[in-house]
Point group: C2
Chain length 291, copies 2
C-alpha cells in the first residue's frame, strides 16, 4: 500500500511509520520546511508542504495513495491570544486541505486523530481547551467530505501515550528523572484518573483500522470515531506505585503540594468504543519496564 502520513516528526507517527514500512508499505510523509526528520525511518519519502492547496492536490494525484493517516496537530494545553491562528491553521485548515487533496486523488480512506479532551466531564462534547475544540471542529468539517464523496473517514481518539524514545515532557519521563536523581517533587493531590497506553498498542490500533478500512468496500466505517483506552485506568497516585514497583525505585513525591490545573481532567472519557478488534496487549508494568 501507499500511505500518506502527517505528523511524522511526532512520537506516535514515528513508531507507526516504522511498522508500516517494515510491513512492506510505501510511506509518504508530509512535512514542513523546518521539520527535523531525524529518527524517521530512512525509507520514508518526504513532501514539504508550502501551504498551497493546489500544490498539495497535485502531489496527492502524483502519489495516488490508498489512504491517509493524519497525526499532525498543534497541541497546546493552554493558549495565548497569538496562538489562535496557529491552532486553527494546524488543526482545522491543514486537515481540510488534506481532505480536499484526498477527494481529488481518489484516496480511499482517511484516519484522523482526535483526543479524549473533546469530552471534558465525560460529556458528548465539551472541549478541555482550544486545542480540543479545534479537533472537534475538524471532524465537523470532515463530515462534508465523507457525506458527499467516497472517502472512508474515521477518527481514532487517543488519550495519554508513552513508550521508549518518547522525549515529551510527560509523567513517566518526569518520574524517570526523579527516580534517578532522588530529588523531591511536589505534585497535585493525584486523584485524577490516568488512561495511558503503550506505543505498540497505539500502533496496533492504527494498523487494525487500516486493515478494516481496506476491506470495507461499503464505507460502513465512514464517520465513526473509536478510542484507544487502557484496561488499567487508575489515579495518578496509584500509577506512581505501579511505576515504583515496575522499576524497583522510589519516587519522592509530595502529593497535594500543587493545585490541579485549570480544567484538569479528573476522570477521562469512558464512553468511547475501542477500535474494532483492538485490546491492550502490554500491561502497564511491562510497558514501563520496556520504556
Amino acid at each position: 500500500m501507499k500511505i500518506i502520513v502527517t505528523g511524522s516528526t511526532g512520537f506516535v507517527a514515528k513508531a507507526l511509520i516504522e511498522t508500516l514500512i517494515n510491513a512492506g508499505n510505501e510511506v509518504h510523509a508530509i512535512i514542513r520546511s523546518h521539520s527535523d526528520t531525524s529518527g524517521i525511518h530512512q525509507e520514508t519519502k518526504f513532501y514539504t508542504d508550502n501551504g498551497k492547496s493546489s500544490d498539495l492536490v497535485q502531489y496527492f494525484k502524483k502519489i495516488h495513495a490508498d489512504g491517509v493517516i493524519h497525526l499532525a496537530s498543534l497541541f497546546l494545553a493552554q493558549h495565548e491570544v497569538e496562538d489562535t491562528e496557529a491552532l486553527v491553521v494546524s488543526n482545522i485548515l491543514f486537515g481540510t486541505r488534506l481532505l480536499e487533496a484526498s477527494i481529488h486523488s481518489d484516496v480511499n480512506w482517511f484516519i484522523n486523530t482526535g483526543t479524549f479532551w473533546q469530552h471534558y466531564n465525560n460529556e458528548t462534547y465539551n472541549p478541555v481547551n482550544l486545542y480540543a475544540a479545534t479537533k472537534q471542529a475538524f471532524q465537523d468539517v470532515a463530515k462534508f467530505y465523507y457525506e458527499t464523496q467516497n472517502i472512508n473517514f474515521v477518527t481514532i481518539k487517543l488519550n495519554d501515550t508513552f513508550g521508549a524514545g518518547d522525549t515529551r515532557k510527560k509523567v513517566f519521563n518526569l518520574w524517570k528523572n526523579l527516580a534517578t536523581s532522588g530529588e523531591d517533587l511536589g505534585m497535585s493531590p493525584g486523584d485524577q484518573v490516568i488512561d495511558i497506553s503503550y506505543i505498540t498498542d497505539i500502533v496496533e490500533a492504527y494498523t487494525l483500522m487500516i486493515n478494516l478500512l481496506e476491506k470495507d468496500t461499503n464505507y460502513s466505517y465512514k464517520g465513526q470515531a473509536y478510542v484507544v483506552s487502557s484496561s488499567e485506568r487508575m489515579p495518578l497516585k496509584e500509577l506512581a506505585k505501579v511505576y515504583e514497583e515496575a522499576t524497583d525505585s522510589t519516587l519522592n513525591i509530595t502529593w497535594g503540594e500543587r493545585p490541579y490545573r485549570n480544567r484538569e481532567v479528573m476522570y477521562p472519557w469512558d464512553k468511547g468504543e475501542v477500535v474494532p478488534g483492538w485490546k491492550q496487549n502490554t500491561s502497564l508494568k511491562n510497558a514501563i519496564q520496556k520504556s
Copy 2:
C-alpha cells in the same frame, strides 16, 4: 449600548445597523481594507482588521463593547480547491479571533449567525456544502469560550432572506427582471420548499435576542441556537404564483428545464426553535410588494 458588528457590507448587517443606530446605540463595524462601506449608516464607526489577533484585542479593549453581532461570512454554494483556505479563515478563524478579543475585553454577549444548511435532509448536522460545515465548526470552537468564560454566546440560524436594497442574485431579483423584460426562464422542477424571511423580521430577531441577552445575568441562553423561519413555507413553484399575485405580473418560467443542483435542499430544516418571542410580522405578499 456599544455593539460591534461584523459583515457590515452585507444585506442583513446594513439593515440591522440602521435599526441599532436609530435606537440610539453606538455601532462599531469591523471591516477589511478593501471593504466598500457605501450604504452603511454614516454614524457607524469603522475598524479595519489587519488580521493580527493582538491588535484586535487592543481594539476591543478600547471600545469595551456590550456585545458582538457576528454576521460576516464567506458564502460559497460550491467551492473550488483554492477556496478552502478562505472558507476556513473567514468562517472559523475570524470568529475565533473575535471570541478571543471578546473574552479579553469583557464583552457580555455574542450573537453568531448560522445557516439552515447545517441541516441537510433535516438532520441534526449534515452540511449542504463546505460553507455550512465551517459554520458548524465555528460553533464547536465557540463552545470552548462559552464553557470556560463568562460570555453569552448564541447562534441565530437564517435561511433565505430578502427585502428592498437586496442586490444579491437571488430568486426575487431574478423574477423582478423576468417580469419586467417578459423574457422566458428555464428553472428546476420547482418542488423544493422555500423558507424565506423579510428583512425587517430578520432584524427584529436580532434586536429581540439582544434584549434577552442584556437581561440574562445568569447566562441561561449560553450555547443556544435559534432560527428565523417563515410561517409561509411553500414550494418554489407556488412561491412564483404568490409573486405574480403580489406584483400583478406574469413570470414566463418553464419548470423542469433545468435539473436541481447537487445537494439541492428540497425541504429546509424544520426542527429549530425560533428566537424567543419572535414571530413573522410581514406576510410574504406584503413583503414582496415592499421590496
